[in-house]
Symmetry: C2
Subunit: 219 residues, 2 copies
Amino acid sequence: MCQSATLPNATPSETASPTPHTCGCSGHGHTGPAMPAPGENVRWVDAATDMELPAVPFPSRRILEIAGEATLRRVVRQHHRLLRASEIGHLFAPDEATFNTLVERIADYVVEACGGAEAFSQAHGKQCMRTRHFPFSIDESARETWLACLWQALYDTGFPLTVWEEYWQWMEAFSVRMINRRTTKAQPVRISYAEAKTRFDLTTVTAAIGVPPSLLTSA
Amino acid sequence: MCQSATLPNATPSETASPTPHTCGCSGHGHTGPAMPAPGENVRWVDAATDMELPAVPFPSRRILEIAGEATLRRVVRQHHRLLRASEIGHLFAPDEATFNTLVERIADYVVEACGGAEAFSQAHGKQCMRTRHFPFSIDESARETWLACLWQALYDTGFPLTVWEEYWQWMEAFSVRMINRRTTKAQPVRISYAEAKTRFDLTTVTAAIGVPPSLLTSA
């Protein structure tokens, strides 16, 4: 937060004329209800935004047509099997039956988002996924673990290479919106398909997410 | 998240021509590294931003000159006495000595921000307060409790009415930046000085933050 700007003897209608400084900020405009009284040497810190939520490319029907519903469901199941054993396993229900019900519900969502049966929205309505995740504290690091487990699950289930990239592009952007606990001012890391190919492999994923090797490639 | 937009047979260089729908979104542009292959019926969900951080009017020297350093320190102490007994008391160290050290450090920060001695930055550097608060999970509701306790502390310490509004404008905007745990898509509530006067009084604050009456007006 730059605290270098001054409004010498400014009135509420006057525009800031900031003192030159080196904080790297882009200007010293201000918005909102707070408005100091005239004649005060108030230092305005710029308005800003917290997290940028990228546009999300929801999948075409190609993924469902090429991978098939059964494979999509296997990916979700293996993904959550890995998640449960990972550093963010505490975010999921410890009870087996509750966990399995959740996983099948997520599989319903994925199948529907890919153009399949509308089982998820018919049962649970249209509320968005960001809102559904608000009860759970999800930080930037949790998202990266989630993505590492997804890459591994795609590998484990033999996901068709022809639609791997489209699936990844959806999930990678989508996952940013699930972050609701910020631990840094930096924007969430974007991991393109090309970057993921070098970032994630069996060895690094296993080490990064702490999943026991016995759980890998067993879907 | 609007999922109504389609890009029929779009190539990456083509512009979306969204199907008419009623989600209320402003358009269907997209940014970022995700970019589906040509010829796919991808539904783009708009880019967006999460929380808006308002401009913050850091105080002039009027507050320090009129209220005086001793009163500023008393406000901080009473504020934290109330916070510790409130619904967000768990955010503070249970140990008395650790808690008191923290409170005096915060008092140093407030005095310095008001133009007083630079004890805080000399001891702790210039790292911004948003960053300093990242280790602690602070949601929208916690901020409102924090503000209610502040209003009460200003009352309890007999804060000078002539600078009450300026102090409030600073803290109200400043406190938005401490939120790092989002539990809703709505922007944080802004509480102007005029609104605070009707929103907070002894009765409502006591009820809202769960502070025992014995802690009130005892500074």
